[in-house]
Symmetry: C2
Subunit: 212 residues, 2 copies
DNA sequence: AATATTTACGATCGGTCGGTCGGTTTATTC
DNA sequence: GAATAAACCGACCGACCGATCGTAAATATT
C-alpha cells in the first residue's frame, strides 16, 4: 500500500505504458503492437509488463480504455463548454475531426484504426470497442436532442441518424487525410457536416460560413 | 511457353493465390497476412510463392490490384447497367454497401480494412491504395456530373463533395455492420445517401421510398 | 536496522515470421 | 525419348514474437 496523496510507482508505470501504447497502436494497430518495442521505448523491461497485465490481450483492453479516457478528456469535455444548441454540436464535430491531426494526437485516430482492425474479429476487445462507439454515438445523439429541445434543430430531426452521419464524416476525414490530403479531407468533412446541420436547423444562420 | 488458348500453370496458381490473399487480408490485414498460412490454405509450398513474387510487399501490391479488379468487375460494371441519372447513382451506392456483407465477399470490405491499415504508413502500398481511392472517387464524381447533365441533379451540385459523402456512408456502414449490427448500419447508410440525393435532385420522387 | 512486499530485471523458452537454397516434378519443344 | 525451362517442394536460416521464471533492487512496515 501507499501513503495517501502519493502516487504509487506502479501506477505511474502503468499510466506511462498505456499512453505510449495508445500512440503506438494508433500507428501499428493493437495487434501490430510489439511488447518488446513498447518496453524499449519506455526504458523498461518487457517482462515487467506481464507484472501489470496478464497477457497481451489484457494490455490491449487497457489501452482501449485509456484511449477512451483521452478522448473524453480532450474532445468531449471541452466541447461541453461551447455555446449551446446547434453551435455546440458543430463545435464538437469540428473539434473532433481536427483533434487527430494536430499537436494533440499527431499519429491519427486511434479508434478509426482499431475499430477496423477488430471489426472482423469477435472477442473482448471488439466488444469493448463497440461499447466505446455506442457511448460516443449516444453522446452526440443526446446533444442533438438537446439542440432540438433548445429550438435550434427542427422538431422532426432524427437525432440518431444525424449522429451516424457526423460519425461518417469524421471517420472518412481521418482516413482520407492520411491517404490523400489533410486539407481536402477536412474541407469535405466540415462542409458535409455544416450542410447537413443547416438543413436540419430552424435558423441556418446559426452556423458559421464556409471558411475554407 | 504455352500453347495458345491454354492457360499456363503459373497463371492459374497466381490467380488462386491472389484471390485467397484478398480474402485473408480482408480479415487479418495485409500485414497480418501470413505467407505460410496462405500457402497452406492453397496446398502449395510457401517457398513457391517467392517464385511468383519477389517479396511479401510485392505480393501485397498484387493483392491490392486483384482486389481492385474484383471491385470493378462486381460493383462498378454491373452498376453501369442501371437505368440512368440519379437512379443509377443510387443503385451504385446501394450495391456497394450491400456488396461486402452478402455472399459476394462475406469477409467485409477489403479496402476499408487495408486503407486504415496503411493510412499511417507511407510506401508503395499506400500509394497504390490512394490510386484506387481516387479512381473510385472520380468514377462516382463522373456519374454525378452525368446525372447533372441529364437533369436529375441540380445544376449547382458539388459532385465532388457528393462523392465524398457517399464514400463516407459506405465506409461507416462497413465498419458499423461488424462492430454493431448490419441491419442498423445499412439502414443508416441507405437513408443518409437517399436523403442527400433527394436534397440535390430536381425531382425527389425519382428516388425510391424508404423501404426499411 | 531488520523485515516484508511490491516492482522490475535478465535470461530464456517455444513458436512463427519472411526469406533462401538445392533439388525434384511437370510440361513443352526438338 | 532426350533436352530445356518453368513451376514447385521440403528443409532450413536468422529475427522477432508473446510469455515464463528466478532473482535483484526499491519501497513500505515494524
Amino acid at each position: 500500500m501507499t501513503i495517501d496523496g502519493r502516487i504509487a510507482r506502479g501506477d505511474r508505470t502503468r499510466a506511462a505504458v498505456l499512453d505510449r501504447a495508445v500512440a503506438r497502436a494508433t500507428e501499428d494497430g493493437l495487434d501490430g503492437l510489439s511488447l518488446g518495442q513498447l518496453a524499449t521505448d519506455l526504458g523498461v523491461s518487457k517482462s515487467g509488463l506481464f507484472a501489470h497485465w496478464r497477457s497481451k490481450e489484457d494490455l490491449q483492453l487497457a489501452t482501449v480504455e485509456r484511449a477512451q479516457e483521452q478522448f473524453l478528456e480532450q474532445v468531449v469535455r471541452p466541447a461541453l463548454t461551447a455555446p449551446r444548441g446547434v453551435r455546440r454540436l458543430w463545435a464538437l464535430h469540428d473539434r473532433r475531426i481536427a483533434f487527430y491531426e494536430t499537436d494533440l494526437l499527431p499519429g491519427g485516430c486511434f479508434f478509426a484504426k482499431v475499430q477496423f482492425e477488430f471489426s472482423v474479429r469477435p472477442g473482448v476487445v471488439r466488444d469493448r470497442l463497440a461499447t466505446t462507439f455506442t457511448l460516443w454515438s449516444d453522446f452526440v445523439d443526446n446533444l442533438a436532442r438537446l439542440a432540438v429541445h433548445e429550438g435550434d434543430l427542427r422538431a422532426d430531426t432524427d437525432t440518431r441518424q444525424l449522429a451516424y452521419e457526423l460519425e461518417s464524416f469524421a471517420l472518412t476525414a481521418v482516413m482520407q487525410s492520411r491517404l490523400l490530403s489533410p486539407e481536402i479531407a477536412y474541407r469535405y468533412a466540415r462542409r458535409a457536416a455544416r450542410d447537413r446541420l443547416r438543413t436540419l436547423a430552424t435558423d441556418p444562420d446559426l452556423l458559421p460560413e464556409d471558411s475554407a
